[in-house]
Subunit: 236 residues, 2 copies
Amino acid sequence: MHMGMPESDYPDIRELHLFSDMEHENFNALMRGTYLQNFPPQVDLITEGEQSDFLHVILSGSVELSASWNGRETTMATVRPVSTFILAATIKDAPYLMSAKTLEKSRIALIPSLDVRRVFDTDNNFARAIVAELAQCYRSVIKSQKDLKLRTSLERLANYLLRQQHLAKGPQEFELKMEKRRLASFLGMTPENLSRAFKGLQPYGVEVNGNLIRISDQDDLVKFAKPFSLIDDYSI
Amino acid sequence: MHMGMPESDYPDIRELHLFSDMEHENFNALMRGTYLQNFPPQVDLITEGEQSDFLHVILSGSVELSASWNGRETTMATVRPVSTFILAATIKDAPYLMSAKTLEKSRIALIPSLDVRRVFDTDNNFARAIVAELAQCYRSVIKSQKDLKLRTSLERLANYLLRQQHLAKGPQEFELKMEKRRLASFLGMTPENLSRAFKGLQPYGVEVNGNLIRISDQDDLVKFAKPFSLIDDYSI
DNA sequence: TACATTTCTTGATCTGGATCAAACTCACCC
DNA sequence: GGGTGAGTTTGATCCAGATCAAGAAATGTA
């Protein structure tokens, strides 16, 4: 681990909506204290319940956010570049509510929470950017909550596939970006059931081949899934 | 409905963490455009999908936030005085993700979203207060999500009762503040099942009499419920 | 290449919780 | 007081999804 960011990583972070409007001075102050590290897969970055020491920015790879209770565990979200995670805990100086671990080899910037809070207190543009980011995060969780409470697991899977297809710019064929067992946990079901759910979507034109998904009858799937902007559109 | 807030309601709102640190000037500007209204029970205040016109502050009574999809409906939360709701939609100028309706006769302040966004852009203390509020809201939803994904309905009910007892300052006996069918929906179950779940908690010392709950064996219930700060403590 | 380990799938069974139906309770109102 | 209608409870049944068990496939490793 080394202190201070190499020049080459500045732009990626600076471009993030969260940092793009802040004072140069303040951004540089943040970066001076920032650690950059390459992590191998399966490394625990954060354990739920611990105090927030760093705001994390994922520059490459992927990170899983999970939570556990009473011996059970569930996947809450997967984070992909370029974005931050556990912003709320950092701002509130509160314990993490989720654990985080790398899924693949990942490059991650660690910005000391103390610095984030200090700059937050002085840089108004940064404070405003944080509001936008938090509002976005809040609305995302609400959508996910609605997905969980209002839909069956089959419906959740169908809509998940449509969302992923949309993210992949809407091709007939695309790859799952998550291991199936993780996807199952994310969707609130068991791996066995996910496997059966894929079968259950065959009548609606979904073909599965390993990580490859083919949606042969888009309209049919849409008719079944009934995607709804107030649940499935993560851009609003 | 009348324009401009009566003096007597200023303090309630001013005391809210969200408004307490902002400039007098700006607070007054907000209040000048604010409508105050008394609503009877069962009035729809907000319909999900509509554009955010007002930030709502509930001064008395209670409001239910719900969401629906494909003919199904679920209770997301109940809001009680003094707090705001649908802050995220107001800030983002995005459509509401939830509907809101009064459960009881309620006094509610309606602050035009345009004004909120304008003051947000100029008053830094207000912007910071919004960050704190949003971070709190975000973490609350995450906790609720963990509750849903990691616990059975019986466990959710047990922990809900312990939380309510705690809010009531920990007496052996306390009242449910929600209709049972709403509570069922909030906990992600049917009314029938809630009824059976109450029965299922009898062995752990829970006695139900209408809206009155008596926890005769605290330790036993706690041992079953296994409350966990990172799910059940809404103050962190 | 062969072996080991993990993930994924499939089948059989079980169970938590939903649904359906009917009684019961209670608040409200003429 | 005696409806009337909503909310709640109880019982019977059903179903989605969990669990258990065992292969099959993929992945990593000697």
